[in-house]
Amino acid sequence: MVKQLTVFLENSPGRLAGLTRVLGDAGVNMRALMVADTAEFGVVRIICDRPETARRALESAGFGVSVTEILAVEVPDRPGGLADILEALGAVGINVEYAYCYVEPGGQAAIDVFRVEEPGRATSVLLEAGIRVLGPDDVYPAGS
């Protein structure tokens, strides 16, 4: 399981810029950023190298932040790679709330991030299916 920051944002000009500037000033490097928006507000999800530092920086700058444990898996770089993973989850009745993708700094593998209802069971299902599930050390350095 990997830590993801979720920030609640009003849908107004400059808010996202302000958020990313706070992270930049705190020396936080982002791996992935995804914005889910509705008409009035947005939810920004961030994977970064130092989630706790990022959380503290954002909170002291007045942002509403929560830390969510999400499932990060390495997706085989071939057609149907992602479909295999989703089918494995669907077959045992695990629903995916949301998902997004990013590429490792080395550029070799795609990483898919899932929010599922039963992360524990999903992890075992994926491991059994031979999928590589990432831990914190794979995404950000230990101790951060």
Partner: protein
């Protein structure tokens, strides 16, 4: 009960007393206060009523009447009969002066003694009076009532919180009289001094002079391990002691042998049916120095139907939930921001901080309630937020009988205020968005 012969009087007997006192009052003010003579003559009414219901035919008195009569123009007795003056704080305009005769001070002490007894006080208690002494009515008002009841009275006045805690501990204070927000500061200060606030000998607090909520009451009761009682008063009518909760904590008993309370619609000024919210209006039956007829307090409350379990027959007003200055009319329905606050207090996941925003959409007025997402909401999922917004909108619609758009905003994005929070933001005059 300090004066059960009045506080538990049978209603018909009480109403007969009120009518007798009302007619005596009307004759006095018509004779002695030029403003009332002018008002009554102008409205074509005589200073006499055949029933309490006819009070509703008489003109109102407003704060501006007191301002324009500054300083002594509305006194109903010569200055030689006045023994004390107090003054309102003047935060919303020019200050006003109120005068008390010896008899007024006596009756005020009785009413305040009733209030302390309402909180469970007796001659065995030690009362720390942390309301300010001076032109403000709070300090001296509570002081005289405490002495009248026979309590040990500590006239410490406000300020120097560490000393308040030390005195409380050393003198063995059992009843604290102050504003609710100061009670919280006292508890926090005690903890900082290494004194467990719950270990203090305090058993009750009589809190007033500023609006507070039931959540705040529970917080104070928990922090100090006491019963927290809401008291109500205003200098134009008396000072503290106009109304007080009893141990039931289910509304504030109005001292109806000395006051008539009415609730009117602040827009139409017509009396509202019993139990409905509106502006509180007081007539002072026994005041000699500066009596008022149908004084509009601008405070919003309602009368609570039914009789209280404590045995007092005086009717109860609900905790004041707002000011008429804040009232909005939304599609014909009177809405007080405090009603929205009550709804929000019952919904987990939203902060009690909100703002009502008025704007123009084309030629139409648009009303929107901005509500802060609480710090504990798992807002990672959009559907959680949408559900939350739907619930807030539905509960507001059901409580207010009018539907209002709800917008969730970021935690801590609504401006905090030390004093009166600004609950209504009107952007209709600003053009553009």
């Amino acid at each position: 009960m300090f004066q059960p012969e009045y506080e538990a009087m049978e209603r018909p007997e009480l109403e007969a007393l009120q009518l007798e006192r009302l007619n005596s009052l009307l004759a006095r003010v018509y004779e002695n206060v030029p403003l009332y003579r002018t008002k009554f003559d102008g409205a074509g009414v005589r200073p006499k009523v055949a029933s309490l219901g006819e009070l509703a035919d008489l003109p109102f008195t407003v704060k501006d009447d007191l301002r324009s009569a500054y300083p002594y123009g509305m006194f109903a007795v010569p200055l030689r009969d006045i023994v004390r003056v107090h003054s309102s704080s003047g935060t919303t305009g020019q200050i006003t002066v109120v005068g008390y005769t010896k008899g007024d001070i006596e009756r005020w002490a009785d009413m305040m003694a009733r209030t302390i007894a309402c909180a469970g006080g007796s001659a065995d208690d030690i009362v720390q009076v942390t309301y300010g002494y001076g032109l403000f009515t709070g300090g001296l008002g509570v002081h005289y009532g405490s002495e009248r009841l026979g309590c040990v009275t500590i006239p410490i006045s406000g300020g120097n919180t560490k000393r308040q805690v030390q005195v409380m501990k050393d003198f063995g204070t059992t009843i604290l009289a102050c504003t609710p927000s100061y009670a919280i500061l006292i508890a926090e200060t005690a903890a900082e001094m290494g004194i467990d606030p719950r270990s203090l000998p305090l058993k009750a607090g009589i809190f007033g002079a500023e609006p507070w909520s039931d959540n705040m009451r529970r917080q104070i009761e928990e922090m100090l391990d006491i019963t927290a009682i809401d008291i109500y008063g205003l200098s134009e009518v008396l000072g503290p002691g106009v109304a007080s909760e009893c141990a039931c904590q289910c509304g504030l008993h109005v001292n109806e042998d000395h006051f008539i309370i009415e609730i009117v619609d602040p827009a139409t000024l017509q009396p509202v049916p019993d139990g409905e919210r509106g502006e509180v209006v007081f007539t002072t039956l026994t005041k000699e120095g500066i009596p008022v007829i149908r004084y509009r307090t601008r405070d919003i409350s309602r009368l609570i139907p039914g009789q209280c379990a404590c045995g007092r027959t005086f009717r109860r007003m609900e905790r004041v939930t707002g000011r008429t200055d804040d009232m909005l009319i939304i599609r014909g329905v009177n809405v007080f921001p405090s009603q929205i606050e009550q709804v929000l207090a019952g919904i987990p996941g939203v902060a009690p901080h909100y703002q009502v925003v008025l704007s123009k959409r084309g030629s139409m007025d648009h009303v929107e309630v901005h509500v802060e997402v609480g710090p504990d909401v798992p807002f990672d999922e959009i559907k959680t937020l949408e559900r939350l917004r739907g619930r807030v909108a539905a509960e507001i619609a059901s409580a207010l009988a009018v539907s209002i758009a709800v917008k969730l905003v970021e935690p801590k994005s609504i401006q905090r205020s030390e004093g009166k929070a600004r609950r209504v933001l009107d952007t209709r005059g600003e053009g553009g968005a």
